[in-house]
């Protein structure tokens, strides 16, 4: 399991990625992140909801309330245009980060 310190700056990116192909809600997003990371990363509940609050405040996602299949009220999130732009930005930032860090990585 990855320490959350390392990944902190990219939680928002992961959530935005999950919303690229359509709206989703809290648990589904968290489950898909776990699945996609092959169980190597589990996003904590509070990290997830902090990110929602932050992303919505910055206008990168929008939320709407819907009644789910079980009849429970749920909040669905949808990525906005500026959210997509931000996602792009973070992706190229990661490219550079990766290139830099790679230079300091070698087999021992």
């Amino acid at each position: 399991m990855i320490s959350s310190d390392v990944i902190r700056g990219y939680n928002d990116t992961m959530i935005l990625y999950m919303l690229l192909d359509g709206e989703s809600y809290g648990y589904e997003i968290s489950k898909n992140i776990r699945k996609l990371s092959e169980e190597k990363y589990v996003m904590k509940e509070t990290t997830l909801y902090s990110a929602f609050t932050r992303l919505e405040k910055n206008g990168y996602i929008s939320s709407l309330h819907k009644d789910g299949e079980t009849g429970k009220r749920r909040t669905y999130y949808r990525i906005t245009d500026s959210g997509r732009a931000y996602y792009q930005e973070k992706c190229s930032e990661w490219q550079v980060t990766q290139e830099v860090i790679d230079k300091f990585v070698r087999e021992m």
């Binding site: 809290g26 489950k31 509940e45 509070t46 990290t47 909801y49 609050t53 009220r73 909040t75």
Partner: protein, 322 residues
């Protein structure tokens, strides 16, 4: 799931109950329950499932920081132990001043009545009625003027502690000190209350006995009754004032944060309403000679205040529930 809901409740206990927070809590509970159900369906026991959900919950501080929320316990103002001790002394002094002030006023009125009685009995045979009247007024003033001074001194003694009207927390450990002091004061307080109640109930007896001795003796009875009442008021004001001081420090009774808010609002209205009531009283009295009915403005204003206080409290509670 009661366990998960109780867990969230305990974590959110210090949060303000705004719509945003309630919504967030509901949403998080939904997520946790869904996770729990899936874990159980994948063959985990109830205990295991709850353990996993809680271990994956994270840190509530992270969420608070992000939402810009300060826990309700961390009010902006901390009152130090030194301030608390100073305040305790100030309250005792102020309560003593006020209690003696009331005693003076009642003794003053009693003395005036006593002089009036003596005068009727022919005690001032070589004085004219006018002279006796003047003497009575001078005696009354001799008591009332120092009493007013004591009231002002009492107010000033407590005047430097306006911050206790705002939201505050006591410095660590200080609350225990205040509680201990309040408990230590309790026996004295209950004794004072019992004695005061006895004096208050017994006081009319003096009037009754004097009345039976003949109508001329009634003023003496009345003045004894007033002195006894003075003793009762002294004990009530003194011990009540100290008790109120402790309650104010612990933010109990009349001094809970909600009550304080309500009291602030009511104090603002009072600053206008009571002078207005007095104006109505004097104008209708002096200009229209309606002294017979105009006193009604005082109980009326009082009732109006009770109504405003009640309405405000109801509205406030309703708002907090949303």
């Amino acid at each position: 799931m009661d366990v998960l809901s109780a867990y969230l409740d305990s974590l959110f206990a210090a949060w303000p109950r705004t719509t945003q927070v309630t919504e967030l809590k509901r949403e998080m509970l939904g997520t946790m329950e869904e996770k729990y159900e899936e874990l159980k369906q994948s063959g985990r026991s109830e205990h295991e499932a709850i353990g996993i959900v809680i271990s994956e919950f994270g840190s509530i501080d992270e969420l608070m920081d992000e939402m810009g929320i300060q826990p309700a316990g961390e009010a902006d103002l901390t009152v130090s132990e030194e301030t608390v001790r100073d305040y305790e002394q100030a309250v005792r002094r102020a309560s003593r001043f006020q209690a003696i002030g009331w005693l003076c006023i009642l003794i003053g009125v009693a003395a005036t009545l006593f002089i009036a009685g003596l005068n009727d009995d022919g005690g001032f045979a070589h004085w004219s009625d006018g002279q006796a009247y003047l003497f009575a007024v001078i005696i009354l003033l001799l008591f009332v003027v120092p009493a007013l001074g004591l009231f002002i001194a009492g107010r000033n003694a407590k005047g430097n502690y306006d911050m206790l009207n705002e939201e505050f927390v006591l410095a660590p450990g200080t609350e225990t000190y205040v509680r201990r002091q309040m408990e230590g004061f309790a026996p004295l307080r209950s004794r004072s209350m019992v004695i005061a109640a006895c004096l208050g109930t017994l006081s009319p007896v003096a009037l009754l006995i004097a009345g039976m001795q003949g109508e001329a003796k009634t003023p003496y009875g009345a003045s004894i009754m007033l002195v006894l009442l003075g003793g009762a008021v002294f004990l009530f004001v003194y011990s009540g004032g100290i008790q109120a001081g402790y309650q104010r420090l612990l933010q109990l009774g009349e001094y809970t944060p909600e009550k304080k808010e309500a009291n602030r609002v009511i104090a603002r209205i009072a600053a206008i309403a009571w002078p207005l009531a007095f104006a109505v009283f004097f104008i209708s009295g002096f200009l229209y000679q309606r002294w017979d009915v105009n006193w009604v403005v005082f109980p009326l204003t009082g009732v109006l205040f009770a109504a405003i206080g009640g309405l405000y409290g109801m509205q406030h509670r309703a708002r907090r529930k949303v």
